[in-house]
Symmetry: D2
Subunit: 245 residues, 4 copies
Amino acid sequence: MLKVTIWNEFLHEKTDERAKALYPEGIHEHLAKVLQAPDLEIRTAYLDQDEDHGLGGDVLDSTDVLLWWGHMAHNKVKDEVAAKVRKRVREGMGFVPMHSAHMSKAFVGLMGTACTLQWREIGEKARIWCVNPGHPIAQGVPLTFPLESEEMYGEVFHIPAPDELLFITWWQGGNVFRGGCTFRRGLGKIFYFHPGHETCPSFHNENVLKILSNAIRWAAPAEPRDFRAGDWVEPLEEFRPEKLR
Amino acid sequence: MLKVTIWNEFLHEKTDERAKALYPEGIHEHLAKVLQAPDLEIRTAYLDQDEDHGLGGDVLDSTDVLLWWGHMAHNKVKDEVAAKVRKRVREGMGFVPMHSAHMSKAFVGLMGTACTLQWREIGEKARIWCVNPGHPIAQGVPLTFPLESEEMYGEVFHIPAPDELLFITWWQGGNVFRGGCTFRRGLGKIFYFHPGHETCPSFHNENVLKILSNAIRWAAPAEPRDFRAGDWVEPLEEFRPEKLR
Amino acid sequence: MLKVTIWNEFLHEKTDERAKALYPEGIHEHLAKVLQAPDLEIRTAYLDQDEDHGLGGDVLDSTDVLLWWGHMAHNKVKDEVAAKVRKRVREGMGFVPMHSAHMSKAFVGLMGTACTLQWREIGEKARIWCVNPGHPIAQGVPLTFPLESEEMYGEVFHIPAPDELLFITWWQGGNVFRGGCTFRRGLGKIFYFHPGHETCPSFHNENVLKILSNAIRWAAPAEPRDFRAGDWVEPLEEFRPEKLR
Amino acid sequence: MLKVTIWNEFLHEKTDERAKALYPEGIHEHLAKVLQAPDLEIRTAYLDQDEDHGLGGDVLDSTDVLLWWGHMAHNKVKDEVAAKVRKRVREGMGFVPMHSAHMSKAFVGLMGTACTLQWREIGEKARIWCVNPGHPIAQGVPLTFPLESEEMYGEVFHIPAPDELLFITWWQGGNVFRGGCTFRRGLGKIFYFHPGHETCPSFHNENVLKILSNAIRWAAPAEPRDFRAGDWVEPLEEFRPEKLR
């Protein structure tokens, strides 16, 4: 049983009529419903849930894979909570930042770069192209599929070279975007995926959902490891330098 | 002084009026002229030049960087010549396959994959986007620039994951392409770049030429190395296993 | 049910007493026995089995993951059989070349490089270190473990930069080796792993076997894809360039 | 003229007799002297030089490549100074963290990982092996060379997968280390290299110095770019979506 936590800022859906219409209970509750499966135990959390944004206590420690949606209030996420997310990723927790979570404190801190990009919000069409069709995250998804309306996110996307580039998005207005990328940081697997503007129906798109669903399984944690990081270590017994002299 | 050889199939320019108009002396002679510079010594060669396609004798051995344009006659290139190109790349010669040279024997053999792609020839517009703006090959070139008319080459491009992805091309008709990629094979550096259809003016485009010009310098050979490849080697003197017993 | 085929040259075990003692029925039969599991259907094949080296008919077409051991008779493997292996990898078949299979026709052709290395056969000690502990192939294996006696394979290993470097081997005599590497070629996943000299007990080592066991599951094929590779494609309907003029 | 700044903690050399004997004026002054060349303008700075650690004013803004040595006082480096270093790297400044600078605030922040490793200080022997012999940083250096005495730094090294792995170090006591790695972050190039313990003569080793010398030229900044990062952008004129409807 994989323990999944879906975190959402949950601000737009309260005030923006279009967002409210698409995701009346919030993106987090919507995703929890459409992603449910027998092998997943899904919880949700959101910014104003409590003083730890719903991620206090043992929530993060007991999370195998964390999905994150944030946009207008990245700075309201407490530094301690963002640091805990990063620590958990390094320990092996899977992390799936979606859409504007490219600017979340957790993602930016794990990348070490600006993570900025070019953007445009005119409801234009997009086409997502798979460039790594053998990858587990791409299974069951056509090599290309359209998004009828999304916020344009375009290059230059200031990320480190991804460990694997899975999807490139074509935009009607003339841009391209490395919109589906994996990164490993410590023991944790990260998959960034760009669709999901709050006023666009991308989280109702079956291919987007299939990709997120695949990503959750792919990002499942490796076994815990004790690295003795930073500790002094003995040379291996039989190769002690004094024996070589 | 960097020794550059520009190889061209040189068939289209003899029979296709549009190609002839754009490149009356052939793509190879055109490039030799527009890429000339004080630090370069440029030669040309072509398929029907002689029985070794102009690459016999010590031509390849004395080439630092080889540019290659081929399209309709990949199979007419002798296996021995293609094998010699691959050997020289592994020894350190730079290699810049252009446009449909993605299907040349030399490139396919160095990649180990099908190297196929999707294509369409309707003279549509393209936009090239840089996704690695700090790379030497991207210097002096805008982060994006248009091609007024090119043959569409699109994903899925069946190459190994490039060592570095430098450019992604946007196509008017709805496709994207990893059209500027680097690969290292042995000591040699490879840069594949897609523009250059014989009936399109891309080799008159200053940004395309700047990129090729940068690529030549970037691909300049490393120092020769004697690898003793495949040879039995002695253990390093002071760590001979008998001393450990 | 994953269909696994274990291919072995099966020559050393007939003539070398030490090899015979370690693997009396051949490395292939030994591995088939020790790797057996409820989710695997394991077959074996070997060089002199028949004129197709036991890989004719639909054997390769019905293989999900192919393990390969070869050493002294790479050149006796028919070109057509090696080509068929490479084709199947590109179509998605997993491929696990072991030990001196780094020089097999199939592996070399998929890499496009010399694949040579330095070597020494004095039965020295080795230590395998994991450098990607979150990877599925590394699960259940200590971060480092010893091999009491192996043939030294050392740098410089003339491969393309691996997609993922998982293990680095330390050698008593003073060398290092990128001995556990993944590559993707087409739809297929490849894992090269160096232990397994015919006179060394590495295939009796539980950690080596755990790694091979993990690799089989990791290399399981992706879904088949029809790429229409090399075909002309229509522009996407709504973005036909004539609509833009 | 490349503007190089060599920064050193400069604490050990004041109190440790062995360090003082090896580097009487400090590691920074030693390196400035031995790395001097006609194309370089070298400055030095150190922790206690002033309240900005010698990096205030326009020092960082006018630095093309920054070398960094730190060990026992990473935490005494002001957050603002470390943040300025990271910003300058993203803008294109080259960065060469040496030895224990793997734990410097600047490097850790650019990596986003723990950057911890295993270590041992017993003056054992090491051998550095080149695994990317065509790389500019490896030119003029043997494929392998010994260090008579160094502090052991070993795997698991908790870094993101390097963009390029250049050197792997073998240790007498049984460890290995990815000790020479490149990373790109924003426009900046980073080369981490492990030799240089304060009580070891590595900065007197001609191969170590040649590698640092090569790294300085390799890390030279790309041209400055205005990314309009985070800005809204207009769709390209001719592809405005309203024209497609």
